[in-house]
C-alpha cells in the first residue's frame, strides 16, 4: 500500500505541473483583456500603461516562469514565514490579483468561511439525507417510497440550481418574506439570536444545494444496496435468525457504503470549488463567485491560482478515495 501511495504521489507532481501549464496557456491565449471592463472614458494610452503595470508586456514564457516562481516558491515561503513569525521580505513578489491589487491568497482565505459554511453544510446535509433515502428505497424496491424517491432524484438532478434557487427566493423571500435573499458575509455568530439569523440566511442556499447533491448520492446508495441485498451472505444471516434490522443496517449497509464513501470523497473538492452558480444566485460571495468574477474580469493570476488549487484538491482526493477504498474493502489490494 505504501508503495502504491508513493507511486501515486510521484505521478501527481508532473500531472499538476502540466495542468498548471495548460491553464496558463488557455488563459493567456484567450482574447480577454483586464482593462476591458474599465469605462470608455479612460483613454487608450492610460489603459496601455495599466496593462504594462500588470506585467502584460512581457513574453509569455517569461510570464509563466515568473508565475511558477511566485506560486511555488514565494507564496509557500510567505505563508510559512507568516505562521512561524519570520520577517517578511518586501521585495519578494507575491501572486497579486489584477482587480484588487491584493495578494490572491488573502482573497481566498477571506472567502473560505462562507464557502465552507454554506456549501460544506449542504454537502453534510445531503449525505445525511441521501443515505437513509437510498437504504429505504433499495429495501422497499418499487414501493411508493422508492418511486417518489426516484422522481425527486430525477428532478433534483435535472433542474439546474439557478432555476431552483430563483424559485425558492421568489417564494420564500419575496412572497412569504421568511428568509433574507442576500447573504450577509459580515455577520458574526456571537449568541443565540445571531446563530438563528445565520441559520435563517443559510437555509435557502443549503437546501437548494443539498437537493442537488442528495439526488446523486441517493441513487448511488440505492444501487449499491441493491447489489448487496441479493448476496448469499444476507440469506445466511437471515437464516441464522439475526434481526432484519441488524442484517440491513449492520451487514448490508456497511458493505454498501464502500463505493458510496469513495463517491463522497471524490465530491469533496467540489465543496471548495464552491457551487459557483448557487453562490451567485444567493450572493454568498464565496470561492465560486471569486472565480467567476476573476474570469469575467480577465484577472489571470486569480483564475490560475484558484484553478490550480482545485486541480490539487482533485488529485489529492482521488488518491484519498482510492486509498480509502483499499482500506475499507479487504478484497482490494494494490501493488
Amino acid at each position: 500500500m505504501l508503495n502504491y501511495i508513493l507511486r501515486r504521489v510521484a505521478i501527481a507532481i508532473p500531472t499538476l505541473f502540466i495542468i498548471s501549464l495548460i491553464i496558463f496557456l488557455i488563459l493567456n491565449l484567450a482574447p480577454g483583456d483586464p482593462t476591458a471592463n474599465l469605462p470608455l472614458t479612460i483613454p487608450p494610452e492610460v489603459k496601455a500603461t495599466i496593462r504594462a503595470s500588470l506585467g502584460l508586456d512581457q513574453p509569455i514564457h517569461i510570464r509563466f516562469l515568473l508565475w511558477c516562481k511566485q506560486f511555488f516558491i514565494n507564496e509557500p515561503y510567505y505563508i510559512f514565514g507568516d505562521m512561524m513569525g519570520w520577517p517578511a521580505d518586501p521585495d519578494q513578489a507575491r501572486v497579486v490579483s489584477w482587480q484588487t491589487r491584493s495578494p490572491v491568497v488573502d482573497l481566498i482565505l477571506q472567502r473560505i468561511p462562507q464557502t465552507l459554511w454554506v456549501v460544506g453544510m449542504s454537502y453534510v446535509l445531503a449525505i445525511l439525507i441521501a443515505v437513509p433515502i437510498g437504504v429505504i428505497s433499495a429495501y422497499r424496491q418499487y414501493s411508493w417510497f422508492d418511486q417518489a424517491g426516484t422522481f425527486i432524484s430525477m428532478v433534483g438532478f435535472s433542474v439546474p440550481t439557478f432555476f431552483t434557487g430563483v424559485v425558492v427566493i421568489v417564494v420564500f423571500s419575496v412572497q412569504l418574506g421568511w428568509f433574507p435573499s442576500i447573504y450577509d458575509t459580515t455577520h458574526k455568530v456571537t449568541d443565540w439570536s445571531s446563530f438563528l439569523f445565520q441559520i435563517r440566511q443559510m437555509i435557502m442556499p443549503v437546501a437548494v444545494l443539498a437537493l442537488y447533491n442528495a439526488a446523486q448520492m441517493s441513487r448511488f446508495m440505492r444501487a449499491s444496496m441493491l447489489d448487496n441485498l441479493n448476496q448469499d451472505y444476507v440469506r445466511t444471516a437471515r437464516a441464522k435468525g439475526i434481526k432484519e434490522r441488524t442484517v440491513v443496517l449492520v451487514h448490508v449497509l456497511r458493505n454498501s457504503l464502500i463505493p458510496v464513501v469513495t463517491v463522497i470523497a471524490l465530491g469533496v473538492p467540489q465543496v471548495f470549488g464552491g457551487a459557483i452558480i448557487t453562490e451567485q444566485v444567493f450572493k454568498v460571495n464565496g470561492l465560486g463567485q471569486l472565480l467567476i468574477i476573476a474570469i469575467q474580469g480577465s484577472d489571470i493570476p486569480t483564475v490560475q491560482t484558484i484553478t490550480f488549487i482545485f486541480a490539487f484538491l482533485i488529485v489529492t482526493f482521488n488518491l484519498i478515495a482510492d486509498v480509502l477504498y483499499g482500506i475499507l474493502d479487504p478484497r482490494i489490494r494494490y501493488d
Partner: protein
C-alpha cells in the same frame, strides 16, 4: 423675573431639542447594493465606476458636479474663476483654497500638502494611474501656504477644472500613501482598501468583490451629518437581484444601475416598498459607420485610411441607413422611461444640445428608398441594391447584450426593407471593449461595416470628447490599434474646429463650437445616434435625501441621506 427667564429658557431649550435630534448617527444603519462588487477603494488604481462610487463615500474632490451638471465647491469655499481671480488671465494657472478646519477621519488636518501629493501620486512613473487624463498638461502643483494650492498648466486651458474636480480625482492623505508612489502603488493594500478620507463615512472592513462595512466619520466637517451611523455596501449578483432586494423584499435601501427591461421594473415597483429614479446624462447608444474598407482580402491594410469603404463613403447611403431607423420604437422596446430617442451624439448639458438634426426622429422608409434610387443604387435580382458591381452588404457588430441584440434584429429588418443586406454579429463585451491589440474583434479594430455601442464623457465639458473624432485619433497599426476615432473620420474642417475649441475660453463660444462639431458629424451621417440612455436606480421609500446625479458619483450626497420616519 429670574423664574420667568428660567422658564422661558427651558421652553426655548425644549423647542431646540427636536432639531438637535437630527444628529450624526441617529438614523442607524443603511444598506446599499451594487450588483457589480467593488474590487478596491482606490479610484486611481482602478477607474471602474463601481470603485469610483464606493470610494466617493470616503474620499472627496475639491469641487464636484451636482445633479444639474453645475460645479459646486466641496472641500473649498468657492470655485476659482477668472472673475474672482482664481484662474489667471492667460488660462495657465488655477488656485484653490481649502476650507478652514478640515480634518481627515484620523483627526489630522487636511493641508495643501495632501493636494500636491495627490497630483504626484497619479502622475508617478510606473503607477498605471487610471485617472491620469484628469491631470493632463499639468506641469506643476505647488502649495502657496497651508491651505492654498496653485496648479500650473503647460498650455492655456480654457477649461482648467480637470485636476481635483469630480469623483475621478479625489484628494488622498499624503501620510497614508507616502510609501505608495509609482510601481509601489498596487502593493499598498492597506491604504488601497481603507483609505483615510474627508467624506461622511470611514471604512471599518473591506472585502474585495464582496462587501464594504463603513461607519460615520467622527471628524466630518458637519457635526449633524451623516444621519446614518453605519453602512453596508454589498456587491455581487445581478441587476435583477438588486432590484428585487430594494423594490420587493426591502432588504436593501439603495440599488445602483438597474439595467432591466421597463416592464420588469414597473412590476417590481408595484410592491410599494421602493421607488425607481432615473436621470439622463451624456450616454448615447450609437451606430458608428466605418469609412474604411474592412475586407479581409486587404490583409494588413484592412480598416485603414489606405482603402476607403466601397459604399459607405457615399453620403446618400449613410443618410438612407439613418432614415430607415425608427428610434422611438427602439426606445420603447429597449429602455422605456429610461431612454429618449436622440439625433445628437452630444445630447447634454443643455447649452451644448443642438436642435438642427431632429428630423431623424421620424422614420422614413420611402424617403430612404428614393434617396438610394436617385444615387444610382438599384435593386438587383436578389433585392439587394448594387451599383457598378458593389453590393450593399453590411456586417453589423456589437457586444453581447440582450437589448443590443433586439436592436440589431429590428434595424436589420428595416435595412432589409430598403434593399440592404445585413449580417449580424455579437462579441463578448470583455473582448469587444478590451484593447487587446492581438484580437481582431475589438471595437477599435472595427473589422466590420457598422458597429453599435454606447459612450459618454465625464463631467460637463465636451472638449476632449468631441476631439475623439480628430483625424489623428483613428486607430491604426502605427498606434497599436489604439484610438477613439472608430469611424476613421478625416476632415480638415472638423480638425480645425477641435483646434479652435482648445483655445476658446468663453463658455457661449465653446458651446457654439461644440454644437458645430456635433452638427457636422450628424449631417454627414458619420455617426447614427439612437438612444439617449438614462441612469436608473432604485431606493427604498423610507430613504430620504436621495438625489440621482449622473454627472458625478450617485452617492455624492450620501451625507444628506436620512431615514423617513
Amino acid at each position: 423675573m429670574k423664574i420667568r427667564s428660567v422658564i422661558l429658557g427651558a421652553a426655548a431649550a425644549l423647542a431646540i431639542v427636536p432639531a438637535a435630534q437630527a444628529e450624526r448617527g441617529s438614523d442607524g444603519h443603511v444598506n446599499i447594493i451594487y450588483w457589480q462588487a467593488p474590487s478596491t477603494l482606490n479610484p486611481y488604481l482602478s477607474g471602474g465606476t463601481k470603485e469610483l462610487e464606493s470610494a466617493s463615500l470616503v474620499i472627496e474632490p475639491l469641487a464636484r458636479y451636482n445633479e444639474k451638471g453645475a460645479m459646486v465647491p466641496w472641500l473649498v469655499d468657492t470655485v476659482p474663476t477668472i472673475e474672482n481671480g482664481g484662474v489667471s488671465k492667460d488660462l495657465k494657472t488655477i488656485t484653490w483654497k481649502l476650507k478652514e478646519g478640515l480634518k481627515w477621519s484620523d483627526g489630522s488636518p487636511v493641508t495643501s500638502a495632501d493636494v500636491v501629493f495627490t497630483w504626484k501620486y497619479c502622475t508617478a512613473e510606473g503607477g498605471g494611474c487610471a485617472q491620469s487624463e484628469k491631470y493632463n498638461d499639468v506641469t506643476n502643483v505647488e502649495a502657496l501656504d497651508g491651505l492654498t494650492v496653485k496648479v500650473t498648466f503647460g498650455v492655456s486651458k480654457p477649461f482648467p477644472y480637470g485636476p481635483f474636480v469630480g469623483a475621478q480625482a479625489p484628494i488622498i492623505q499624503a501620510k497614508q500613501f507616502a510609501d505608495c508612489l509609482g510601481a509601489k502603488a498596487p502593493g499598498c493594500t492597506d491604504a488601497n482598501f481603507k483609505p483615510i478620507g474627508t467624506g461622511p463615512f470611514m471604512v471599518t472592513e473591506f472585502r474585495p468583490n464582496d462587501v464594504i462595512s463603513l461607519k460615520a466619520n467622527p471628524n466630518y466637517r458637519d457635526p449633524a451629518k451623516p444621519a446614518f451611523a453605519t453602512v453596508t455596501f454589498k456587491g455581487g449578483g445581478s441587476a435583477m437581484d438588486a432590484g428585487r432586494a430594494v423594490l420587493e423584499t426591502g432588504q436593501f435601501d439603495y440599488a445602483w444601475n438597474l439595467q432591466l427591461a421597463p416592464d420588469v421594473l414597473a412590476n417590481m415597483q408595484k410592491a410599494g416598498k421602493g421607488k425607481v429614479v432615473s436621470a439622463f446624462g451624456t450616454l448615447v447608444e450609437r451606430i458608428m459607420i466605418n469609412m474604411t474598407n474592412p475586407d479581409p482580402k486587404l490583409g494588413d491594410e484592412r480598416g485603414t485610411a489606405k482603402h476607403p469603404h466601397p459604399f459607405l463613403t457615399d453620403i446618400a447611403v449613410r443618410k438612407a441607413l439613418s432614415m430607415a431607423i425608427d428610434r422611438k420604437l427602439l426606445v420603447e422596446i429597449g429602455y422605456g422611461d429610461a431612454g429618449r430617442p436622440t439625433c445628437n451624439v452630444l445630447p447634454a448639458p443643455e447649452i451644448y444640445k443642438s436642435t438642427a438634426n431632429d428630423a431623424c426622429l421620424n422614420q422614413d422608409i420611402e424617403g430612404a428608398k428614393k434617396l438610394l434610387d436617385e444615387a444610382g443604387w438599384k435593386p438587383g435580382s436578389d433585392g439587394i441594391r448594387a451599383k457598378d458591381g458593389v453590393r450593399l452588404s453590411i456586417l453589423y457588430q456589437t457586444s453581447t447584450n440582450a437589448v443590443r441584440q433586439n436592436f440589431q434584429a429590428a434595424i436589420k429588418q428595416w435595412w432589409n426593407e430598403i434593399g440592404v443586406e445585413v449580417e449580424l454579429r455579437n462579441i463578448n463585451a470583455s473582448v469587444f471593449f478590451g484593447s487587446d491589440p492581438g484580437s481582431p474583434d475589438t471595437f477599435q479594430k472595427f473589422f466590420a461595416d457598422v458597429e453599435m455601442y454606447a459612450n459618454n464623457f465625464d463631467g460637463t465639458d465636451p472638449e476632449s470628447y468631441m476631439a475623439n473624432w480628430e483625424c489623428k485619433q483613428a486607430p491604426r497599426p502605427e498606434t497599436q490599434w489604439q484610438g477613439n476615432n472608430m469611424p476613421r473620420y478625416c476632415d480638415k474642417g472638423y480638425d480645425a474646429l477641435v483646434a479652435k475649441m482648445a483655445k476658446t475660453g468663453d463658455l457661449m463660444e465653446r458651446a457654439k463650437l461644440a454644437k458645430a462639431m456635433n452638427d457636422k458629424l450628424m449631417q454627414e451621417y458619420i455617426i447614427l445616434p439612437l438612444v439617449d440612455r438614462g441612469r436608473v436606480s432604485a431606493h427604498s421609500v423610507t430613504l430620504g435625501g436621495v438625489v440621482l446625479n449622473t454627472w458625478d458619483s450617485e452617492l455624492w450626497n450620501a451625507a444628506d441621506w436620512y431615514r423617513i420616519k
